[in-house]
Amino acid sequence: MNHRGDTMTDDGGSPAPLLAGRGLVKAHGRTPALRGASIALGAGEILAVTGPSGSGKSTLLHLLAGIVRPDEGSVTYAGQRLDRLPEQRLTELRRTDFGVVFQFGQLIPELTAVDNVGLPLLLAGASRAEARRRAGEWLERFGVRGQEELRPGELSGGQAQRVALARALVTGPEVVFADEPTGALDSLAGEQVMTALARTAREAGTAVLLITHDAQVAAYADREVRLSDGLVLPAEVAA
């Protein structure tokens, strides 16, 4: 599958976006998180979603990444309705086409850095040696050299987050979902993580959905939309 030829579009533009959510409604118990949000992500586009805490940013990411199904509305990825795919197919898709980076906690604490990064490759059927070799390359690229055999708890926050980034990117995904990737980091470590993410995504043509409440982090995107009261506010004019 190659969607890289698609041009970047604005919400509602004519060429089909790579990933689109339309009229998304989701409630947690009785609390509505999203009330009809629509959003579109072009191939290779870095899109920031900002908004105050509790505005439904993370829920939007979970819906678009096929982690949670919407109560109403549709999620379309490369022409297929994610909200209708069976769970097993979704899991596979998340592993092959998507990468996720959370604020923290997506690394397995007991695995070494290199094994954490190699895990998606191992799941995809690569040999252990091959997985470790390719994982090592990514770690080196993200400046985590010499720490391959350390466990996440032994790394600094910034290093651990760069390891998480490597794990999200190692399979060459079409879309990376990043939920407050610098939320637990100081500004310098955050800048290193964001620079690594933005550069790699631009080089590889990977689309990024970036959830953040920080304007300086959002500035790494090509475009920014705001979530307010469960709705996506009209997209800004792209810079």
């Binding site: 620079t195 500035a219 800004e236 810079a239």
Partner: protein, 177 residues
């Protein structure tokens, strides 16, 4: 910003002429407003007048004749004094955005719309600066000067956010005053 001290600083590296100084200034302080050549020239003359710099000689080097300047002992002392002196932290609150909001309220305009437009412009500029700094070829000086501007724009943005949220109260206050 004191142009004379920056030029003095650049002269500390060794004698150079006006054009060279301008080029090195623009290189060292990327994203800053570039120095005008005329400004460099007058500043150098004032430095010589005050005894902080002196003329080393002229060199033709095949092209037009150029005057070489170098720093004096007094210049080095003045530079050290200035470099160690703290910059007064925000002595006056000069805030054009705030002035526009207040004027807009007085004139019965739409301050909220103005703030939104201003925020969008700020964000667009932030994306621009971030793109400059994430470019693989960007050197540290570029990154740091972009960071400086980004932090200030971010502070403006945050201020605009809280101001937008409190516009109603502000309007009532301005209108009754």
């Amino acid at each position: 910003m004191s142009t004379r001290h920056i030029l003095l600083g650049l002269l500390e590296a060794g004698p150079s002429h006006g054009y060279d100084l301008k080029r090195r200034h623009d290189e060292r302080f990327p994203q800053a407003r570039p120095l005008a050549y005329g400004q460099v020239y007058t500043t150098l003359q004032r430095l010589v007048r005050d005894g902080l710099a002196e003329i080393e000689g002229t060199d033709a080097d095949g092209g037009p004749e150029r005057t070489l300047y170098r720093s004096t002992g007094a210049g080095a002392r003045e530079l050290a004094r200035w470099a160690g002196e703290i910059a007064p932290p925000a002595p006056f609150v000069a805030n054009e955005i705030f002035a526009k909001v207040v004027v807009s309220i007085l004139a019965g305009g739409d301050p909220a719309a103005y703030l939104r437009a201003q925020q969008d412009a700020h964000k667009a500029r932030m994306r621009e600066l971030t793109a400059v700094k994430t470019d693989p070829g960007a050197d540290l000086a570029t990154v740091l000067s972009a960071d400086y501007a980004l932090n200030h724009l971010d502070a403006d943005l945050r201020w605009m956010n809280t101001t937008a949220a409190r516009l109603t109260t502000l309007t009532a206050e301005v209108d009754t005053a």
